[in-house]
Every structure is written in structure tokens, then in C-alpha cells.
């Protein structure tokens, strides 16, 4: 079964440090999403790429977060500098968007559990 792969699975670091999370979407998928999940806020969309182009990052704190897709097999989410309030589980998901069939199912990785001390 094809799967979305996220690394690292766990990350503990001190505030102020740079954090980079990586995602390998399912081969052939044309959309990539980054989500953040916390108990208080639930699942929040941070960024959305279609065909590697960033289409929406309105959910992302621009001053410290950045998301990129250097190629079709890699998406990255960076936090610099990190803060304790960034502690959460970060999920990457990919999907196959079709013409005139919006909102297709998304396939999630198992997430990166991030703790900022």
C-alpha cells in the first residue's frame, strides 16, 4: 500500500531552535497539505500545494513558519525560531485532485510529534 511518509516521527528541542519536518507524498498525487493537531484547536490547515505550487498558507504564522516543495517527492515545513506554543502533532497529507471533482480524499502520514521546551 502506498503511504505518506513523514520524518521525524518525534522531535524534542529547545525554544529558539530551527525545526524541519519532511514529508514524502504518495507518488502520483498532485496535492499536499500540512496540518497541525492540538487538543485545544483540533486539526488546523497550515498550507496547501497543488502541483508543487503553494496555493494557500493563510493558516500559517508567516513570521516563523515556511512550507516548500523542492520537488514532487518532498515537502518541508520549517519553524524558525520555534516556540513552546508550536508544540503539537504536525501531519502531512496528499491527494489526487481531479478536474471538476473537488475535495478528494486525503491520505495522511503518521505525523511528527513536536515538543518545544
Amino acid at each position: 500500500d502506498a503511504r505518506v511518509t513523514q520524518t521525524p516521527r518525534h522531535k524534542v528541542t529547545e525554544m529558539g531552535q530551527e525545526v524541519t519536518m519532511r514529508c514524502q507524498p504518495i507518488l502520483g498525487h498532485n496535492t499536499v497539505f500540512w496540518y497541525r493537531q492540538t487538543m485545544m484547536q483540533g486539526l488546523e490547515l497550515l498550507a496547501y500545494f497543488r502541483n508543487r505550487a503553494p496555493l494557500d498558507d493563510s493558516g500559517m504564522p508567516k513570521d516563523r513558519f515556511s512550507a516548500e516543495m523542492p520537488d514532487a517527492t518532498l515537502a518541508t515545513l520549517k519553524i524558525q525560531p520555534s516556540e513552546p506554543r508550536d508544540s503539537a502533532v504536525y501531519f502531512c497529507a496528499s491527494g489526487l485532485e481531479k478536474y471538476r471533482e473537488p475535495n478528494q480524499p486525503q491520505h495522511f502520514g503518521d505525523g511528527t510529534r513536536l515538543s518545544i521546551l
Binding site: V4, G42, L43, L45, A93, P102, N103, P105, Q106, D110
Partner: protein
């Protein structure tokens, strides 16, 4: 906000019983999807129902959609301990910018005891 709200927040049943979870949303949608999340794992897509459909089945899952009431329900029949997980509804809509977005609800935590 288009966010779905699941009801109940938590549900505890015995194996073999049926589990029903409800989802309400606020705006027009293209489709509604249900996902399952096991502890420590990512969300897994279960079923998608389009806005022009009223009911859909997949194995032990039955989903209904009432667009007039802006609500959906997920029924799991003959539940098993392995069904223990959180279940989320997600509504799909097109924003003014043309961006397609899934908005996830707050989830129902289901516990199925042997």
C-alpha cells in the same frame, strides 16, 4: 466557519453494538467525508458522500447526508474492539479564491469494549 461539529464528543459501547455519530456543518458543501484516527496515527479516509447523495454504504459503515439540515451521520454496525478510535467528519467546499479546502470537525472518541 464551515467547521463540522461531531456529536457525541465521546461514545462508549460494547462489542457487537452499533455506534452512531453525528456531524453538523454550517455552509454549502461539495461533499462530506468521514475519517478515522487511531491513537498516535494519522487520519484514515473511510467514506465520501457527495452533496447530491443521501446514503452510502461501505462494509459495516453507513453514512447519511441531509443537506437541508446540514447534517450527516456515521453508523458502524456490529462494532469491534478494533473500531476504537476517533472519528472525524470533514466538509469539502470551494472558497471564494477557488481554493478547495476540507474542514475537519472536532471528532468523536469511540471506545468499544470487548
Amino acid at each position: 466557519s464551515q467547521q463540522g461539529e461531531e456529536d457525541p464528543q465521546a461514545l462508549s459501547i460494547q462489542e457487537g453494538e452499533n455506534a452512531t455519530m453525528n456531524c453538523s456543518y454550517k455552509t454549502s458543501i461539495n461533499n462530506l467525508q468521514w475519517y478515522r484516527q487511531n491513537s498516535g496515527r494519522g487520519l484514515v479516509h473511510l467514506i465520501l458522500i457527495r452533496s447530491n447523495e443521501r446514503e452510502k454504504h461501505s462494509g459495516r459503515l453507513r453514512v447519511t447526508l441531509d443537506t437541508s439540515k446540514k447534517s450527516s451521520s456515521l453508523l458502524i454496525t456490529a462494532s469491534r474492539a478494533a473500531d476504537t478510535a476517533s472519528y472525524f467528519c470533514a466538509t469539502g467546499g470551494i472558497m471564494n479564491t477557488g481554493f478547495q479546502k476540507l474542514v475537519f470537525g472536532t471528532g468523536t472518541r469511540l471506545l468499544v469494549s470487548p
